[in-house]
Each structure stands twice: as C-alpha cells, then as structure tokens.
Symmetry: C2
DNA sequence: ACAAAATTAGAACAATTGTTCTAATTTTGT
DNA sequence: ACAAAATTAGAACAATTGTTCTAATTTTGT
C-alpha cells in the first residue's frame, strides 16, 4: 500500500470515527505518522480525498451487484445477499451516508455520480422484480407506480438506515446487522408471495 | 420579536440554506445586521443556538400531535394530516434532519431528547394502529414484530426523506411535498384495508 | 429623573485551518 | 554510479474561527 492509498484508508477510518465536521487534514496526517505537508503533496485539496473515497464506494457497489448476477439466486437468497452486501458497504463508508447532503453540496461531482447510480439501480430493481414475479416469488398485482415507490423506499432505508441507527444510540456491531436485516425484511414482507 | 428570537430565526434560515458545515456565528450576525459580539452576548456558545432550535422543533411536533388527537379522524384523513404536518416540520427544520448524526454527536442532549421522543411516538403509533384495526381500517393480521418494523420504517422515511430528496437533486417546493406524500403513502399501502 | 441593569458594537485574542514553500532525502531509470 | 524525479518533514502564511473584553449606549424600574 503506497502513501496515497494509506491516506485514503486513514481518512476513511478517521471520518467514520469522528465525522467530517471536526476532522482536519492535520489530524489524518498525525494519525498515520506523516506530515501535513506530505499529505497535501498527494492530495492538494481535502475534497480530493473524499472524492477518491466515494469512487471506491461506487466500485465496491458495482462489484457487489456483479457478484449477485453471477449466482442466479432464488429471491429470498438474493434478498439475504443484498442485505449482507449492502450492510457491509454502508458500514464501511458510513461517514458518507451520515453526511450525504453536505458532501453532495460540497463536492457536486459526488451528487451527480450518485444520481447516475440511483437511476441505474432503479432499472435493475424493476427488471429484477419482474423476473421474480414471473417465477411466482414476487407479487404480480403491484401497479408500476407503487413498485417505483417501493424501490424509492428501499433506497431511503438502505442509504439512511445507518443514520437512524446511529441517532437512536446503536453501538454494538452485531445488533447493527440484525437491525438492518429486520428493517429491510419488513419492507419486503408485503411484496413477497 | 426580541434579539434572541431574531438570532434563532436567522440561524435557522442560514443553516437551512447553507448547512452547518460552513456557516459561522459571524455570518449569522452579519445576515441580521448585528455584531458578532452581540450574538454571543445572547448565546454564549453556538451549540446553545442549535439546542434552542431543536427545542422549538420538539414543541412544534408535540403541538401537531395534540391537534390530531382533538380531531377524531378516519385513518385516511389522519394519514393526510400526518403527511402535511410532518412535511411542514421536516421542511422548516431541514438542516437538523440533514445533519442529524453530527448534531447528536456534537450536542448529546439533543440525541437523548430525540430518543425520548421516538419512544413516545412508537407507543402512540402502536395504539393508534390497534384502534384503527378495530374499526376495520387497518389490517388486523399483522404480527407485532412486523408492526414495530413498519413503524421503524415510517420513522426512517420521515426523518430522512428530505436528505434523500436533497441528494437526488430535488429543488422545487411543490414537487417536494408530492414526493414526500407519495413515499409515505406507498409505505402505508400494504397495511390499509 | 436617575441609578442600575441590559444591550450593543467593535476591537482584540488565541487557536486552528487548509495549503504552500523550501530544503533535504529517497527512489528511479539508465 | 549518478542525474532527474518523486517523496518527505517542517516551517511559514494568510485567513478564519468562536469567544471575550471594553467602553458606550439604551432600557428599565422606581
């Protein structure tokens, strides 16, 4: 791992731990035992670090989705894979989810990139649900408007479940995954056959 | 409106507009045409302003709920009142919702106060749904675990819908309410009879 | 009317911030 | 082996921050 990668890893760690509000580039540098000057040699601006982290999140996400496609799963299996996989990402990059609006206002390219991702995701979900509806695993009597609303719901829950969990005072890791699983499953419950 | 109230109003306005990340007490003071020294005469610390705003949000919320209780509504009417009322609050205090985790980490009293509110809200919802289930307006066959999960879902959506809307690039006010209404209604859809 | 208290503006302070600059050291390609 | 390029530490900079201090002005209670 070269210095640039180490900076990204350290920044992710510190941001997750303390939030973007109070963390400084000096603190990130100190934490990893390099000078602030050196950090800014590799990343001229703080935004550049965060933008790099966001890029990593997107690559991780695409990788996860590609993995699902290969496996050809039953809907309930896919749901479990989705829960485990998305939880891992949400937890790994939680500071971004916790500060999503501010980050997008600060670095507009992240907002644009996210909106692209969401549009792709939405289509994937629609065709996925159609596929499982034909296999009799997903309800067939759902109007498209409701279906899109349901997908929107899943996005809100998966993007902001961590924020809610954190605000409610959740700490323990094992509780966290169970809480996330429960929340997503309940959202799906009325739509499964 | 005395100076103290004016400061709170101006702060709410500026925070909603620009987010807590970049706004300074100097900027709030400048915006309302008073000196920074004067602002800090009324609020020694920045946290005190935010804590006051959060107190206002809670009073507004309690007021809204009390209004519902008086009216003795049919479930679908109540749902509409809830959507309109909660939207008004979410929009009025949007900067808090957008920075909920950071605000709670910064000012622990807000987190504690919110957790109290959520516990009260949860009980209210359970007994409300029981009441409407007896009247045949809400499904009676929902296990309590699912019901609690559904309530959790509603909280996540109402607390973070704005964040999602903002990140998706939503701007226009009229679109916003419709989007919120649609999202909440779809969440309720499978549980109404 | 007038003393005491409350409010105000503006200067001042000490700390911190992101970033740049400089000079030294290390690594790389040949 | 050695010149050029990349990396590093640490000092330096200019701007900004929340907050305090001081002295003036305004309001309040009697």
């Amino acid at each position: 791992m070269n210095t640039k990668e180490k900076i990204v890893a350290a920044a992710l760690d510190v941001y997750n731990r303390e939030g973007i509000r109070t963390v400084t580039t000096r603190q990130i540098a100190r934490e990893m035992g390099i000078s602030a000057g050196n950090l800014h040699y590799h990343f001229k601006h703080t935004e550049d670090i965060i933008f790099t982290i966001f890029g990593q999140l997107q690559r991780d996400y695409d990788e996860m989705v590609a993995l699902f496609d290969k496996k050809d799963l039953v809907l309930r299996e896919l749901l479990q894979e989705f829960i485990n996989g998305s939880y891992r990402l949400i937890n790994k990059y939680r500071f971004i989810f916790v500060n999503f609006v501010e980050v997008c206002a600060w670095i507009p390219a992240i907002g644009e990139s996210y909106r692209d991702l969401v549009m792709r995701r939405e289509e994937q979900f629609v065709s996925l649900f159609r596929y499982y509806a034909e296999l009799g695993m997903f309800r067939q009597d759902i109007p498209i408007a409701i279906l899109k609303g349901f997908i929107r719901q899943i996005f809100i829950i998966s993007d902001f479940w961590y924020s809610s969990f954190a605000v409610l005072g959740g700490r323990c890791q094992s509780d966290a995954l169970e809480d996330y699983r429960q929340t997503i499953e309940v959202a799906f419950y009325p739509y499964l056959t």
